[in-house]
Structures are given as structure tokens and as C-alpha cells.
């Protein structure tokens, strides 16, 4: 193995088989090698069933590989989880409905034994980051889907993990909110300099957000293409730039090729 210290995530020879040996055996991932540099924004994209969410869960040690190795911050993925090296955001915000916005953001801090004042201060800081300060005492059910998702991101970042894992966090949002949230996430990324691994099935979303788009093929999930994206600073006009569309075409081609082969 040739990891360097700057590797936030390093994956080698990774395979994942569900229900191994049974008639309903599924080879979800096969022969995945992937290294993600610290501070980069990487998207995993692919058709449903390509194992992109499984890959994310393997990085988070929420499930374990059948073969191969996952290292996060030069540790085993399990150790990284126990060290709280990453924060996670899912498609459903997963906020606890019995907790106010502030209390939701405080949840991981509470589990880590922070004092009340420390928690309060950090939650306020996080609310400021996601621009929801005036909703501090509201409850999840009083908020829109986009707002809830922002709270979930604030919660994931509250304990300052170096890595942020996001599993289709904007999948349930409407197009307008989605674009707005993308700008917000880039803003947060710039401010916090985290490594972000972002699972999506939207090509424009992947291209707009990432420095690198990993295209995956289905059954078994493999890395089909690793496309660098260099669009400079993202602004409103980026979405209308010809380079943006070139990148989208490149990703789409990679996906189409795999789609036909599969």
C-alpha cells in the first residue's frame, strides 16, 4: 500500500458481497481502488444499484467489506468511526422530532460529553454557518425540507470532523431549493476546508459541486471513470458556462457507456 499522509480516504481491493453463498447473493462492489486527498470535494455518481451508497457506508464503517481495505485518515475505517473522524448526512435529514433545532445540532456533542455551555456556543456557531440562527428554538416539523437538511449538515459538522459523508442529501428537494443548497454546501466547504464525499445521481449536481467525479457502473459496482472537474470558482454563471456543459457531457458519456455494457 502506498498511502500518503494527505490521504483522507484510501481504499484498496475493496469488494462487498451481500448474502454471500445464498441464492440471492448480490455482488455490490468489486475491486474498488480509490484515494481521496484531504480537502477535496469528490462526488460518487452512478445509476441506482451501483453500490455508491454502500461505498459511502463502507467508508463510514457502517458496514464492513467482504474483501479489501478501507482507511480513513490513515486509520481503519472502524477506528475512524470510533474517533469521530467523519460526520454524515443522509437523504432524509434524520432530525429527532422531539428536539429543537439547537438540541439536534447538540446531539453529537452531547454524546461526546461536552459541557452545556460548549454545546450551546458551538450550536450557535453552526446555525450561523448554515444561516438559520433565527430558527434556533424551532422544531423540525416547523421547517421546510431544505432548512431541515441544512440543520442536518450543521449537526454533521458540529464536532468538526475532518470528513463529511453525504448520501444524496438533496435528493428529496425541489430543483430550486436544490441549487440553492448546492451553493450553500460549496460555501461551507470553502469556509471549513473539509474533505467531502458526496453521493448523488444528478449529473449537473456532481459536476457543479466536485473537483472530481467518480463514475460507477452497476452490478457489480466498479469505478468506470474518474473525471477531474476544473471549473474554477462556482458562481451563478457557472451553470451556464460551456465548460460546465462539456463536463456534464463527459460524465454522461461515461455513464452511457457503462449503461450499454451492463
Amino acid at each position: 500500500m502506498t498511502e500518503t499522509v494527505s490521504c483522507a480516504v484510501s481504499i484498496s481491493g475493496l469488494s462487498k458481497v451481500f448474502n454471500a453463498g445464498k441464492p440471492n447473493e448480490v455482488r455490490a462492489l468489486e475491486d474498488i481502488d480509490l484515494a481521496i486527498d484531504e480537502g477535496t470535494f469528490v462526488s460518487l455518481i452512478g445509476p441506482s444499484g451501483c453500490g455508491k451508497s454502500t461505498l459511502l457506508r463502507l467508508i463510514g464503517a457502517l458496514t464492513h467489506p467482504t474483501a479489501g481495505e478501507v482507511c480513513v485518515n490513515d486509520k481503519s475505517a472502524d477506528q475512524a468511526r470510533l474517533d469521530r473522524d467523519y460526520g454524515m448526512a443522509f437523504q432524509t435529514s434524520g432530525l429527532f422530532k422531539w428536539r429543537s433545532v439547537t438540541e439536534n445540532i447538540e446531539l453529537p456533542l452531547q454524546l461526546m460529553g461536552w459541557s452545556k455551555q460548549e454545546r450551546k456556543d458551538r450550536a450557535a456557531e453552526m446555525l450561523d454557518l448554515v444561516k438559520l440562527s433565527e430558527f434556533a428554538d424551532h422544531y423540525p416539523r416547523e421547517m421546510s425540507g431544505g432548512m431541515r437538511q441544512r440543520v442536518a449538515i450543521a449537526r454533521a459538522l458540529s464536532f468538526r470532523p475532518s470528513l463529511l459523508l453525504m448520501d444524496e442529501p438533496f435528493g428529496a428537494l425541489d430543483e430550486m431549493t436544490r441549487e440553492h443548497m448546492q451553493t450553500e454546501v460549496l460555501d461551507i466547504w470553502k469556509k471549513t476546508e473539509k474533505t467531502i464525499v458526496f453521493v448523488t445521481h444528478s449529473i449537473p449536481e456532481a459536476v457543479f459541486l466536485s473537483e472530481r467525479v467518480i463514475v460507477m457502473s452497476p452490478r457489480p459496482g466498479r469505478i468506470a471513470a474518474d473525471i477531474p472537474v476544473d471549473l474554477g470558482e462556482r458562481v451563478f454563471e457557472t451553470r451556464e458556462a460551456p465548460e460546465f456543459f462539456e463536463c456534464i457531457t463527459e460524465v454522461r458519456e461515461a455513464l452511457r457507456f457503462e449503461g450499454n455494457a451492463g
Binding site: 468511526r81 474517533d83 432524509t92
Partner: protein, 314 residues
């Protein structure tokens, strides 16, 4: 003050007014319902007596439906008046005072039984959450425990309590045994609904807790228990009435003096000399039950409205 805060305060005021209105409406409906019940009772009695007076030999009343004479159905005004009458010859204390004292006695037994039952039920629910295997193993026995007739186990518990609990640091009195009988009825709904409630936590939330490297205890306390609260309150309402019933039945079959059970037993054995006394005492028991459920419902309202949740409908 900003307009925003003013608006928020105005909304709060409106909400409070609406809540008050809802409470008042409930009280009015409750009172109207009692009046309707009394009217129906009196109406049926008058009808039955008219049938009797006409000597029509109409067989429905008396055979199928209850008889309407004053022994079977004492007039409402007699029942109401009975509350003010002393039930003992050489004691001027009115029946209402007897019922109130007995209610407090029974309430104490029931409350202790409720607390024990909730603790036991929650303990069982947590154990069943931990292990599917234990859940499958224990469930049939839990159900079976509720089919054992209470009148059979009540004397056993009372005797066991007085004979085998002498080692406790405090003196074991028979009303505590009655609490144990109430416990026997209360733990069951809490265990059943509690298990369902603890399992109601979203799998994604469980995963989230895992991503925070939360311990099982933290997951239980921060996620599974709070998620089960609406289920638990639904169970508490059933458990509250079960605790009262358990205490009354426990007193009767365990031969414990001082509570409503004993009072009911006394008045039932002397029914022919004063049927309205028994009626009055039964009404007292019903009021106690309503009070118990009302207390739980109030607690539910306070807890859930803080969480902005609706109560789980039964």
C-alpha cells in the same frame, strides 16, 4: 420589540386562547353527557314503573332488561343524597368522606402499583429490544400472565407479602401487597407498547447514532426512549385504569381494609338495606378512574406539546 416578536407573541396568545376553548368545550361535553346519562336512567326507570303500574305483564323489563324498582335502580336523587348521609349509625361522618378516604387509600396503592408496573414494563421492553430471541421467548408468557385470574393470585400475593417480606428495612403492610397486585396488571400494556415504541426508532437514526460511535446505552437514552414516548403514554392510560381496577380487586380478594374495594364489599353485602350506598361508592370509584386517566392525559399533553407532537390515538 420587533414586529416579528410581536407577531410571535400574538400567535402564542391565540394558541393559548384556543387551548382554553378546547378544554372548556371538553368540560361542557362531559357535563352534558352526565346529565344525559342521568336523564336516560331516570327515563327508563319511569317507563318501567309505568309498565309495572299498568299491570300489563310485559315480560321484557325485569327478565331481559333490569327491573326498575327502587332496590334495583335507586332514584338519582337518593344516590346523590346518600353522599351526605352517614353510613354508620353511631358516626356522623357522611358517606362522601368515607368514599374520599377510601379513594385516597386506593389511589396510594394504585399509584405505587403504577410506578412499579411502569418500571417493570419498561425493563421488560428494554430486555426484549436487546434480544429478538428473548422477545420471542418471553412474549407468550407475558400474554399468559394476563389470563391468570386476578382473584386467584391476589390472596397468594397478600399471604406471600405478609409472610416472606419481613426482611425488608421497612414494615411490609398489606396495602403494599395490593400495590403488587396492581403492578401485575399495569406492567403488561407498558411492556407491550414499550417494546413497540422502542422499536419505532427510525433505522436511519440508529445508523446515525452508530456514525457518532454512540454506545448502546446512549442510543437507548437519546434515541429509542424518546421515540417511544407517544407509545408509552398510550400504554400509561390503559395502565392507569388497570392500576385502579387491580387495587380494588386486590383489596376485595386479598381481604385488605381501608380502600374502595372493602367499601364496595361492605355495601354489597348490605345491599338490601341501602342500595344507593353501593351506587354512590361505585360512582366514587369511577371518578377515581377518571382522575387517574386525566392525570396521565394532562402529563401527555404537557410532554407532547413541548415536543410539538400529537398524542398517539388509541
Amino acid at each position: 420589540m420587533t414586529t416579528r416578536e410581536e407577531a410571535a407573541q400574538a400567535i402564542k396568545k391565540l394558541e393559548r386562547a384556543a387551548a382554553w376553548k378546547r378544554t372548556m368545550r371538553r368540560v361542557v361535553i362531559f357535563v352534558v353527557f352526565i346529565i344525559l346519562l342521568a336523564v336516560a336512567y331516570t327515563g327508563y326507570k319511569a317507563f318501567g314503573q309505568a309498565v309495572d303500574d299498568a299491570q300489563t305483564q310485559w315480560p321484557v323489563i325485569g327478565r331481559v332488561l333490569p327491573r326498575t324498582d327502587d332496590l334495583t335502580m335507586p332514584p338519582i336523587r337518593d344516590i346523590v343524597a346518600e353522599f351526605g348521609q352517614p353510613p354508620q349509625r353511631n358516626n356522623s361522618k357522611p358517606l362522601a368522606a368515607f368514599i374520599a378516604e377510601a379513594s385516597l387509600f386506593t389511589l396510594r396503592e394504585a399509584t405505587l402499583g403504577f410506578v412499579f408496573g411502569v418500571a417493570l414494563g419498561l425493563g421488560i421492553a428494554i430486555i426484549m429490544l436487546r434480544s429478538r430471541w428473548l422477545e420471542r421467548g418471553m412474549s407468550p408468557y407475558l400474554v399468559a400472565s394476563q389470563t391468570v385470574p386476578l382473584v386467584a393470585i391476589a390472596p397468594i400475593i397478600v399471604i406471600w407479602g405478609s409472610n416472606n417480606l419481613g426482611w425488608l428495612p421497612f414494615e411490609w403492610t398489606s396495602w403494599m401487597s395490593v400495590s403488587l397486585i396492581a403492578t401485575y396488571l399495569t406492567f403488561f400494556p407498558v411492556a407491550m407498547n414499550g417494546t413497540k415504541g422502542l422499536q419505532s426508532a427510525d433505522p436511519a437514526s440508529i445508523e446515525l447514532m452508530r456514525s457518532y460511535a454512540a454506545s448502546r446505552r446512549q442510543t437507548l437514552v437519546r434515541l429509542q426512549l424518546p421515540a417511544s414516548v407517544p407509545y408509552l403514554f398510550a400504554a400509561f392510560k390503559i395502565a392507569a385504569t388497570a392500576a385502579i381496577v387491580g387495587a380494588i380487586v386486590g383489596e376485595i380478594s386479598g381481604g385488605v381494609k381501608g380502600g374502595l374495594g372493602r367499601l364496595i364489599l361492605d355495601f354489597a353485602s348490605r345491599y338490601t338495606t341501602g342500595p344507593s350506598r353501593l351506587y354512590a361508592t361505585v360512582i366514587g370509584a369511577a371518578v377515581l378512574g377518571i382522575f387517574a386517566v386525566g392525570a396521565v392525559t394532562t402529563a401527555e399533553y404537557i410532554v407532547l406539546s413541548k415536543r410539538k407532537e400529537e398524542p398517539l390515538s388509541l
